[in-house]
C-alpha cells in the first residue's frame, strides 16, 4: 500500500479468505459496520461508488446463512439486518411515497460512515507499520542521565538588613511598661458610697442605682465592678442583703435593718 488512493480502501487490508471461512470468523468482526465494510470491500470498487443495494443483499444473505449454520448472532447484527431490509424496500419504493429522511439520504450516510471507518482502519494499519521504538528502532540502552541540581540564591537588600537590626534592637531594649492614669472608683470609695446610700432607704435598690450618675463610660465600668464587690462585702458583714431573681437578672440590694 503506497498511495493516498488506498486510503479509500479499494485494496487495503482485503482479507483474502474464502466465503466458507467468512462464516467462521464471526467473532472477528468489530460489530455490524465492520462486517459491512468488509463486504463492501469485496465489491472491489472505491467505497464512494459501491452499490448500497448490492451491499444490503450481501449482508442479508450473510445473516441468513449464518443463521442457517446456527451461528449465534449478536443482537446488533440483527438490528442492522432489519434496518438494511427496511432501507432496501424504501429504496425500491416509488419516489412520491417517500418520507423524510429519504432512503437515498440514509444510503448515502451509510456510505459515508463506511468510508470513514475504512479510512481509520487504513490509518491504523499504516500507523502500526511505522518504525516503532522497541520494535524497529531502539533507544540508548544505558544512558548516564543528566543531572539538574537546584541551588537557592537568597535575596535581601540593605533596607531589609537595617530594618531587621532595628527590629532586634527594639525587641530586646529594656521594656518600660506604663499604665496610663484612668478614671477609676476604688473599692474603698465604693464601700463608702454604697453603705451611705443604703442608709437612706429600706427598699430594694438595683445595683446600678448606686453608681454615680453622668459618669463617663470607663468610670461607670469601674464603679460597677467596685460597687459589686462592695455589695458582696457589705453582705458578708451582714449589713446588706443581695437578691437576683434570674441568671443575669438585675442585682438588687437592701439594708439589713438593725
Amino acid at each position: 500500500m503506497s498511495d493516498s488512493a488506498s486510503l479509500f480502501g479499494e485494496d487495503a487490508q482485503d482479507r483474502t479468505r474464502g466465503d466458507e471461512a467468512l462464516y467462521l470468523e464471526l467473532d472477528g468482526w468489530e460489530g455490524p459496520l465492520d462486517l459491512l465494510l468488509d463486504l463492501a470491500r469485496r465489491q472491489k470498487v472505491d467505497l464512494r461508488s459501491i452499490s448500497i443495494l448490492a451491499l444490503v443483499d450481501q449482508y442479508l444473505t450473510y445473516i441468513d446463512e449464518a443463521e442457517a449454520l446456527k451461528l449465534e448472532l449478536a443482537a446488533d447484527y440483527l438490528v442492522m439486518a432489519a434496518w438494511l431490509a427496511y432501507l432496501k424496500s424504501a429504496l425500491l419504493l416509488p419516489k412520491e411515497e417517500q418520507e423524510d429522511p429519504s432512503p437515498e439520504e440514509l444510503a448515502l450516510k451509510l456510505q459515508l460512515r463506511l468510508q470513514r471507518l475504512g479510512a481509520m482502519r487504513e490509518a491504523a494499519a499504516r500507523l502500526m507499520g511505522r518504525d516503532r521504538i522497541g520494535r524497529d528502532v531502539y533507544l540508548r540502552g544505558n544512558p548516564e542521565g543528566l543531572e539538574i541540581a537546584r541551588r537557592t540564591r537568597w535575596r535581601c537588600d540593605q533596607f531589609a538588613l537595617i530594618e531587621a537590626y532595628g527590629r532586634v534592637k527594639a525587641r530586646t531594649a529594656p521594656a518600660v511598661h506604663m499604665v496610663r492614669e484612668r478614671p477609676v472608683m476604688t473599692l474603698d470609695s465604693a464601700l463608702d458610697r454604697v453603705s451611705a446610700m443604703l442608709g437612706v432607704t429600706l427598699d430594694w435598690m438595683r445595683l446600678e442605682e448606686f453608681l454615680p450618675p453622668h459618669a463617663e463610660p470607663r468610670l461607670r465600668k469601674s464603679a460597677l465592678a467596685s460597687s459589686f464587690v462592695a455589695a458582696l462585702e457589705l453582705a458578708r458583714l451582714g449589713r446588706a442583703e443581695i437578691a437576683q431573681d434570674e441568671v443575669f437578672g438585675p442585682l438588687r440590694l437592701r439594708r439589713v435593718a438593725g
Binding site: 493516498s4 486510503l7 479509500f8 468489530e30 460489530g31 455490524p32 459496520l33 465492520d34 446488533d76 439520504e105 448515502l108 450516510k109 459515508l112 460512515r113 468510508q115 470513514r116 471507518l117 479510512a119 481509520m120 482502519r121 487504513e122 490509518a123 491504523a124 494499519a125 499504516r126 500507523l127 502500526m128 511505522r130 518504525d131 516503532r132 521504538i133 522497541g134 520494535r135 524497529d136 528502532v137 531502539y138 533507544l139 540508548r140 544512558p143 548516564e144 542521565g145 543528566l146
Partner: protein, 202 residues
C-alpha cells in the same frame, strides 16, 4: 556553529534519559542562544543521517535512536513491543486523527461500543491522555495523544500521521452529517453546521 556546540549537544543527548527540547538543551549549555542550539541540532542530525544511530525530532523534542534498517540485528535480544488488539489500534488511530475526541465520537466512527478497557490500555501505554471535557451537553471527557505517542511511532508531529493531509482534504475526518451537507451543497445552512459542534448523532 562551533564544533564545541555540536559535541556538547551530542554528549547531552546521549546521556539524557528522555527526549530533550532545544530549550532544555540550551539550559545545559550555559544558556546558549536557542538559535545556535537549533542549528547545532540540525548539523548533528545531518551528521548521523548515514550512521547506525540517528538523531530525530519528535514533537519538538530530540533523541537518538538506532537506524530502522538495523532492526533485524537488534531484535534478537530486545523485548518485542506488546501487540495491540485490533480494537485498540483502531481507537488509537481515531484518537490520533481526530483529537480531541470523545468516546461517543469514537463509537460513532467504529459503529460499535468501545469497552473502557480499550482506552485504559492506550492510556496505560502512555499514548493517550484525557484532554479535559468538551463544553457541550453532558460535558463528555475528551481524549488526545501524548508526546510519548509521537515518540513511539516516530512522528515529528501530528502532521506526520500517515495520510492525514489527504484524509482531511477528502473530508474523511469530518463528521458524516457535515460531509452529507457538503455533498448536498446545502449552501444556506453552512453556519448551522459550523455551530453544530457535537458530531456524535450519526
Amino acid at each position: 556553529m562551533s564544533a564545541d556546540m555540536e559535541r556538547a549537544l551530542e554528549a547531552a543527548l546521549f546521556a539524557a534519559e528522555e527526549p530533550m527540547s532545544a530549550e532544555a538543551l540550551a539550559g545545559f549549555l550555559r544558556d546558549a542562544p536557542i538559535e545556535e542550539v537549533r542549528e547545532g541540532l540540525r548539523a548533528l542530525a545531518a551528521h548521523y543521517e548515514v550512521r547506525g544511530i540517528r538523531l530525530v525530532e519528535r514533537g519538538g523534542r530530540w533523541h537518538f535512536e538506532t537506524a530502522p534498517d538495523l532492526a533485524h540485528f537488534l531484535r534478537r535480544t530486545r523485548e518485542q513491543v506488546r501487540k495491540l488488539s485490533r480494537a485498540a489500534t483502531e481507537v488509537l488511530a481515531i484518537v490520533a486523527y481526530h483529537e480531541p475526541v470523545s468516546r461517543a465520537e469514537i463509537e460513532s466512527i467504529r459503529g460499535v461500543q468501545t469497552s473502557s478497557g480499550t482506552l485504559d490500555v492506550l492510556m496505560e501505554e502512555g499514548w493517550v491522555r484525557i484532554a479535559g471535557r468538551r463544553e457541550s451537553p453532558g460535558r463528555p471527557t475528551i481524549y488526545a495523544t501524548t508526546p510519548a505517542f509521537l515518540d513511539h511511532f516516530g512522528l515529528a508531529s501530528r502532521r506526520d500521521l500517515p495520510g492525514i493531509a489527504e484524509l482531511r482534504a477528502a473530508g474523511l475526518l469530518d463528521p458524516v452529517e457535515d460531509a452529507y451537507d457538503d455533498l448536498m451543497g446545502a449552501g444556506e445552512d453552512t453556519d448551522q453546521s459550523a455551530d453544530r459542534g457535537d458530531p456524535t448523532d450519526v
